[in-house]
C-alpha cells in the first residue's frame, strides 16, 4: 500500500523550515506593522472613521511589536438599531426555511448566523450600558490575535503540508502564500470590522467576533491548504491515479452480466446445477482414468 518514508529532509522541512519562516516573519513584523499603519491612515478618512490610528505594544518576552489600530469608537444600540437588528434576525431565520434541496446547507448557515445575532439582540435589549468592550480595544485585540496567528501559522503549515512529498519550492511557496494572504487579509478584516461596528453600533460586534474573526482566518487557511494539496508534486503520491468513478451511479460498464443457469438444469430441481456439476466431474474422472471406452 502506498505511503511515505521518514527522512532527514522531511525532518528539516518539518522543524527547521517553519522556524525560519517564523523568525523571518517576526523580523518583518516592524515593516509590516508600518505598512498596516500607512494603510489604516490612508483609509481612515474615506471610511469616515473619527479619531486617529494609534499603536499598542504587544510584548513577546523581551521584544515588543507596535500594532496599529483605529481609535474610532462606537455606541450602544439605539431603539431603531435594535429594531433593525430584530428585523434582520427574523428575516435571516425565516429565509432559511425557504432554502431547501441543494440550498439547504446555506439555510442552516443562515440559522446559525441568526442564532448568533439573536444572542446579541437579547443582550442589548435587556442589559444596561456600558458594553464590556469598546471598539478601539476590540480592534487592537483582533489585530494582536492576527499577529500571533501570523507568527505561528508556519508551524501549522509544516505539520499539515510539509509532511507530504512536495518539492521544497512548493513548501516554501505554500508558507509564503499563506503569510502574504494573511498579511493583506488581517488589516482589511480589522478595517471592515471597525467600519461596520462604528456605523451599525456595538450590536454587530458579537457576530463579527464569533463568526468573521478567527473562524474566517481558519477558513482561509483551509481553502489555501486545499488548493496547495491539489498541486502535483511529482512524488510517490502522484504515482497513483485511482480515479474514483464520477459517472452517475449504475452498473459498471464493461463488467459482464452473469449468465443464467440453463433452463434444462433449472427444470430438474433447485439443486440441479449441483447435480449437473457432479456429473461433469464424474465424466471427467472417467475420461482421466481411461474407463470410458472409445466408440
Amino acid at each position: 500500500m502506498i505511503g511515505l518514508e521518514i527522512s532527514w529532509t522531511l525532518l528539516v522541512d518539518l522543524f527547521v523550515l517553519p522556524m525560519m519562516f517564523a523568525v523571518a516573519m517576526f523580523a518583518l513584523l516592524d515593516p509590516l506593522m508600518g505598512a498596516w499603519r500607512e494603510f489604516f491612515n490612508a483609509i481612515r478618512e474615506p471610511l469616515g472613521l473619527p479619531g486617529v490610528v494609534s499603536t499598542r505594544v504587544f510584548e513577546v518576552g523581551p521584544l515588543g511589536v507596535a500594532i496599529p489600530y483605529f481609535t474610532a469608537g462606537s455606541f450602544w444600540p439605539e431603539p431603531r438599531d435594535l429594531q433593525t437588528g430584530w428585523l434582520v434576525t427574523v428575516v435571516l431565520f425565516a429565509v432559511s426555511f425557504f432554502l431547501k434541496d441543494r440550498w439547504l446547507p446555506f439555510g442552516y448557515l443562515l440559522r446559525f448566523l441568526s442564532a448568533i445575532q439573536l444572542t446579541a439582540q437579547l443582550w442589548f435589549t435587556f442589559a444596561a450600558p456600558p458594553f464590556t468592550y469598546d471598539l478601539a480595544s476590540y480592534t487592537a485585540g483582533l489585530l494582536i490575535c492576527g499577529v500571533v496567528i501570523l507568527v505561528l501559522s508556519p508551524f501549522l503549515v509544516a505539520f499539515t503540508f510539509h509532511i507530504f512529498d512536495f518539492l521544497l519550492w512548493q513548501k516554501v511557496a505554500m508558507g509564503t502564500l499563506l503569510l502574504a494572504h494573511l498579511s493583506v487579509l488581517l488589516p482589511l478584516q480589522a478595517a471592515v470590522h471597525t467600519w461596520v461596528i462604528h456605523r451599525a453600533s456595538l450590536l454587530a460586534m458579537p457576530m463579527l467576533f464569533l463568526v468573521f474573526g478567527v473562524l474566517l482566518d481558519v477558513f482561509v487557511y483551509v481553502a489555501l491548504y486545499g488548493w496547495g494539496m491539489s498541486w502535483r508534486s511529482g512524488g510517490v503520491l502522484d504515482a497513483v491515479e485511482r480515479r474514483p468513478p464520477t459517472m452517475p451511479a449504475r452498473y459498471p460498464e464493461g463488467r459482464p452480466r452473469p449468465t443464467p443457469t440453463p433452463q434444462s438444469v433449472r427444470a430438474i430441481t433447485p439443486i440441479g446445477s449441483q447435480i449437473i456439476r457432479a456429473l461433469g466431474y464424474g465424466s471427467m474422472l472417467v475420461r482421466r482414468l481411461g474407463l470410458g471406452g472409445r466408440p
Partner: protein, 429 residues
C-alpha cells in the same frame, strides 16, 4: 453571574480538551497512514481451501438497485460450490420481491431469497432470522446498493484464515461522486474515514469498525457474542464493540473496495446521519462501561480507541456546547484567549459522520490520487454545519439513549435509474 461565568469557563476548557484529543487522534492516524507499516492480512491470497460462505443482502424496497448488486455478486470469483447468495427481503412494498423470485428461478442453488413478512422489522432482526437458517462458516453482508468487484469476496474472506479474526470490513467508495456538492463532500468524507482513519486503526491494532455494509462476520464469533441485537439502531457498531470486548479481532481491508450510492439530497443525508447518531449513542450507552472496565483483557490503547469511537457522535454536541460557552464568556467580558478560540475554530472544520479532520481528508484524497477534488475542502464546513444540527437533534432524542425502543427500517433513499419495470433479465444482452 460569576457562577455562570465559572461554569462557562470550565465547560469551555472541558470542550477544548475533548476536541483537542479528537483532533490529535486524527493527526496521529494521518501520520500513521502516511508513514506507518500497513497491515493487510492475507489480502492477496487467491488459491486456498475457501470456507463455505453465505452473502446476505438485506433489502427493503430496493427495486432500483438490487439487480446490479446481485449481478455483481454472481460474477465474483468465489468457488460456486461454496457460495450462497441470500437476499433478505423484509416487507418490501415495491417490486423487490418479484425481482428476487426471478433471480432465484434464473440462478437456482446460487441465489436463495429469504422473504420475511413478520417479526421485528429492521436490518438486524432480518439478518438474525436469515442467518439462523444457515450453518456456513462465514457470513458476509452487503447493502443492496453495493456493487462488489470480482475479487472482493475472496479478499474479505481471506482474513478469516486467522482464527482470531471475528469480523472483516472492506472499503466503501462512492459511485455517484460527481452529481452534486453533497456527493462530492461525502466522497471526501468517506475517503478520510476509510483510507486514513480505518487503515490507521488497523495498523495500530486498535478498533477498526465493522461497518455492516461491505464486510462479514465469522459465525462462531457471532454466536459467541450472542448474535445480532435485534433492537439495535446501529447493528454494525453494536457488533464491533461486542466482538472487541469478547477478544475477537476486527480487520479492515483497505484494498477491498466496494462501490456504494451515497445520498444525493441533503434531506436524505440528514436522515442517514441522524440514524447513525442514534445508533452510535445507543451503543455508547450500552457498552462504554463494559469496555472501560475490561482493561484486564484488552490493551489500554484498544480500550481508549473503542471509547473514542463510541463517542464520535457526541463530539458535535461538545462543539456546540463549546460555542455556547464562548458566547457566554464573550458577553460576560471574559473572551476566551486566542488559543482556545483557535482550537474551537479548527475543530469546526472537522466533519461529522466518519469524523475526519480536514487534513485527514486531504491526506486520504492525495493517497487516492485524486488531487483536484481536495480543492473542495473548505466546503466541508457546510457539510459539517448540517451534520451538527442533525446529530444534535438525534443525540437529544430519546431513541439515542433509552433501552428497548422499537426499531424499524430506516433506509437511505436510492436514486439510481430504475430498472424495475424492465422485464425478463432486465433487458440486458
Amino acid at each position: 453571574m460569576n457562577t455562570l461565568v465559572a461554569f462557562a469557563n470550565i465547560g469551555l476548557w472541558v470542550c477544548i480538551v475533548i476536541l483537542a484529543i479528537y483532533t490529535l487522534r486524527h493527526y496521529f492516524f494521518t501520520l500513521n497512514r502516511l508513514f506507518g507499516r500497513h497491515r493487510q492480512p492475507f489480502v492477496d491470497v487467491i488459491q486456498a481451501d475457501w470456507p463455505s460462505l453465505v452473502v446476505f443482502v438485506p433489502a427493503h424496497n430496493e427495486e432500483r438497485v438490487i439487480r446490479d448488486s446481485l449481478d455483481a455478486l454472481l460474477t465474483c470469483d468465489y468457488p460456486e460450490d461454496r457460495l450462497k447468495i441470500v437476499p433478505v427481503d423484509d416487507r418490501s412494498t415495491d417490486d423487490t420481491r418479484n425481482i428476487l423470485k426471478e433471480y432465484a428461478e434464473n440462478y437456482p442453488g446460487r441465489i436463495i431469497p429469504f422473504l420475511r413478512d413478520e417479526g421485528i422489522p429492521g436490518k438486524a432482526a432480518a439478518l438474525a432470522d436469515a442467518m439462523a437458517l444457515h450453518q456456513d462458516e462465514i457470513f458476509l453482508v452487503f447493502d443492496a446498493d453495493y456493487i462488489p468487484g470480482e475479487r472482493l469476496l475472496k479478499q474479505l474472506v481471506a482474513p478469516f484464515f486467522d482464527a482470531e479474526v471475528g469480523a472483516v470490513m472492506g472499503r466503501v467508495v462512492p459511485l455517484n461522486v460527481g452529481l452534486s456538492l453533497l456527493t462530492r463532500l461525502l466522497d471526501l468524507e468517506r475517503a478520510g474515514g476509510y483510507q486514513v482513519d480505518q487503515q490507521a486503526r488497523m495498523n495500530l491494532r486498535l478498533v477498526p469498525q465493522y461497518g455492516g455494509t461491505v464486510g462479514g462476520v465469522r459465525r462462531a464469533a457471532l454466536e459467541h457474542v450472542g448474535g445480532w441485537n435485534v433492537d439495535s439502531l446501529a447493528e454494525d457498531t453494536d457488533l464491533t464493540v461486542r466482538l472487541v470486548i469478547a477478544g475477537w479481532e476486527v480487520v479492515y481491508q483497505n484494498r477491498s473496495e466496494c462501490y456504494e450510492e451515497v445520498p444525493e439530497t441533503w434531506e436524505s443525508r440528514i436522515r442517514q446521519i441522524k440514524r447513525w447518531a442514534k445508533g452510535h449513542n445507543q451503543a455508547l450507552r450500552r457498552y462504554v462501561a463494559a469496555l472501560l472496565t475490561n482493561r484486564s483483557r484488552l490493551p489500554l490503547a484498544q480500550v481508549l480507541d473503542g471509547a473514542l469511537l463510541l463517542g464520535v457522535f457526541v463530539v458535535p454536541l461538545v462543539l456546540a456546547v463549546g460555542w455556547l460557552c464562548t458566547i457566554i464568556l464573550f458577553f460576560a467580558g471574559y473572551p476566551p484567549e486566542w488559543g482556545r478560540f483557535t482550537v474551537l475554530a479548527i475543530s469546526s472544520f472537522n466533519t461529522v459522520g466518519n469524523f475526519a479532520a480536514f487534513f485527514q481528508v486531504a491526506a486520504a484524497s492525495r493517497l487516492d490520487g485524486s488531487r483536484e477534488r481536495i480543492r473542495m475542502l473548505p466546503f466541508l464546513f457546510l457539510g459539517f454545519l448540517v451534520s451538527t444540527f442533525a446529530v444534535g437533534r438525534a443525540s437529544l432524542s430519546r431513541a439515542s439513549w433509552l433501552r428497548g425502543r422499537p426499531v424499524q427500517w430506516q433506509k437511505t433513499e436510492r436514486h439510481r435509474e430504475g430498472r424495475a419495470n424492465v422485464g425478463g433479465n432486465g433487458g440486458r444482452a
